[in-house]
């Protein structure tokens, strides 16, 4: 086949004809919603009720795009010797113009207050509007999908195996 003169030309025509016969893979995005893979990183949602203002996320953030303000409140617990102190969150903001979507804050959060949401349509005309305050971050929480099911063939989590071993003992 290689030796015949003009076979390369014929091959070129054949390739384009074959491509034309197949359906295009184009997704008509604004008209048709894309089906995103599980664990897509669209936006970071804040589950405010879980936040204890431990500041771990803000410290771990590589580009320092998380802003946290808080104050302490005294909670009088009946029967306790002295009032307890509690952190109250005043401000929690993520600047998505700085965020690089590494997800370290979500990994770092010990109280499961931060989640990935697959929503990505929050472009703005003004870069300052990309600073999402805590009520907006709380709103994203409604778009967080349930965690995907475990891989049926995967090995069980470490917690599960230790729990099972303890129960057997």
């Amino acid at each position: 086949m290689e030796g015949i003169p003009g076979s390369g030309l014929a091959k070129g025509l054949a390739v384009t004809a074959k491509t034309m016969a197949h359906r295009a893979h184009t997704r008509q995005y604004p008209d048709v919603e894309p089906d995103l893979p599980p664990r897509s990183r669209g936006v970071i949602a804040l589950f405010e009720e879980n936040c204890t203002v431990c500041m771990l996320c803000a410290r771990e953030c590589p580009d320092w795009c998380i802003y946290i303000d808080s104050h302490k409140e005294e909670v009088v617990v009946p029967g306790a010797a002295r009032p307890r102190q509690r952190n109250v969150l005043d401000r929690f903001a993520i600047d998505f113009s700085l965020c690089m979507y590494c997800g370290i804050c979500i990994e770092a959060c010990p109280f499961d207050a931060l989640y990935w949401s697959p929503e990505f349509e929050y472009a703005e005309y003004d870069i300052r509007d990309l600073l999402h305050e805590k009520d907006r971050l709380r709103e994203w929480m409604w778009t967080v999908p349930p965690p995907p099911a475990h891989d049926p063939m995967g090995e069980p989590a470490k917690e599960e195996t230790t729990a099972a071993r303890k129960a057997a003992r």
Partner: protein, 317 residues
């Protein structure tokens, strides 16, 4: 008088619709050949009105002539690029008889070839008057290319004219027999390839070569004048395809050609236009030296050989 008006009107309508049809086909065919969808929005159904939208856009754009440009020449060049194809369309027959051709004349082939050759003048005018080195480079490449390819183009056409024994385009179709497909095959290939080069279609778009010459002789054009050059390209596809069909593919001949001969001409023209688009998508651009080599070392000898073959068959048969 009324007859003249009707004929001219018919040709103008064909001139305004057929290139747009070909252009739209190119949009869609090229897109699908590249695994895309092409225009999808204009006109709501698969972007059928894309070229109309393009036209509206071009009309709205500012008409700029560069400060150093030779203004009258610069402004008239797009019109001169477009006009030859309009004139050529006047003489291409859709079907037998006097009513399916813009203007029946005995030397149709000669006139059409002469008129299509005017294109090089428009390109040179546009190139030189733009006062832009890229334009000038593109224009000179175009001149070298068009002058070179004119030769095999005319020789191939001469072969079929010799075979038919007439220069009249309807006469050539009338004399055409299916076995000419084989006999005139080299001439057909030469004519088609040289025709592609004549209208500067890829893979022969060295004068435009947007990756090295910006946009060749069209660099300085905007708005409607640029649109004229684009329209001239698509009108060129129609004219070259129609000429290939009339000269080599038997024009209106086909099953039921008594009733729907004109339809056969149109169908064949669109089939050849499709091949023009297909070739554009499939092949990379020829380098300048490869371009000239193909012309002088392949096409000219082949067309001369075809001429000898045609003459021999005519004399012996």
């Amino acid at each position: 008088m009324i007859e003249v008006i009707i004929r001219v009107l018919g040709v103008v309508v064909a001139f305004l619709t057929l290139p747009l049809l070909v252009g739209q086909t190119e949009h869609k065919v090229m897109a699908h050949m590249q695994g895309r969808l092409g225009p999808m929005y204009a006109g709501a159904f698969h972007g059928w009105a894309q070229l109309i939208a393009d036209g509206v856009k071009f009309v709205q754009k500012e008409d700029i002539s560069p400060a150093d440009a030779d203004r009258p020449v610069f402004r008239i060049a797009p019109v001169i690029a477009l006009l030859p194809y309009l004139v050529a369309l006047l003489f291409i027959p859709l079907g037998p008889g006097d009513w399916l051709v813009g203007q029946p004349i005995d030397i149709g082939l000669f006139v059409v070839l002469a008129v299509v050759g005017v294109g090089v003048v428009a390109v040179l005018m546009a190139a030189w008057s733009s006062a832009n080195k890229y334009s000038l480079l593109g224009g000179l490449r175009a001149a070298a290319q068009l002058l070179g390819y004119e030769l095999p183009f005319v020789l191939a056409a001469a072969s079929v004219a010799m075979a038919a024994g007439t220069l009249s385009l309807p006469g050539i179709v009338a004399a055409w027999r299916p076995w000419w497909l084989l006999w005139q095959l080299p001439a057909m290939v030469v004519f088609f390839v040289a025709g592609l080069a004549e209208i500067r279609r890829p893979p022969f778009d060295m004068p435009i070569a947007d990756s090295e010459l910006v946009f060749g002789y069209m660099t300085e054009y905007t708005g409607l004048r640029f649109a004229f050059f684009l329209l001239a390209e698509y009108a060129g596809i129609v004219v070259i395809s129609a000429l290939t069909v009339v000269l080599f593919l038997g024009g209106w001949k086909g099953p039921f050609d008594g009733q729907v001969g004109w339809l056969w001409t149109l169908v064949k023209t669109f089939a050849v236009s499709f091949v023009v688009i297909w070739v554009r998508v499939a092949y990379p651009r020829l380098r300048e030296d490869q371009l000239q080599r193909l012309c002088w070392l392949v096409l000219v000898p082949v067309s001369l050989g075809q001429l000898v073959l045609t003459a021999a068959v005519r004399v012996l048969a």
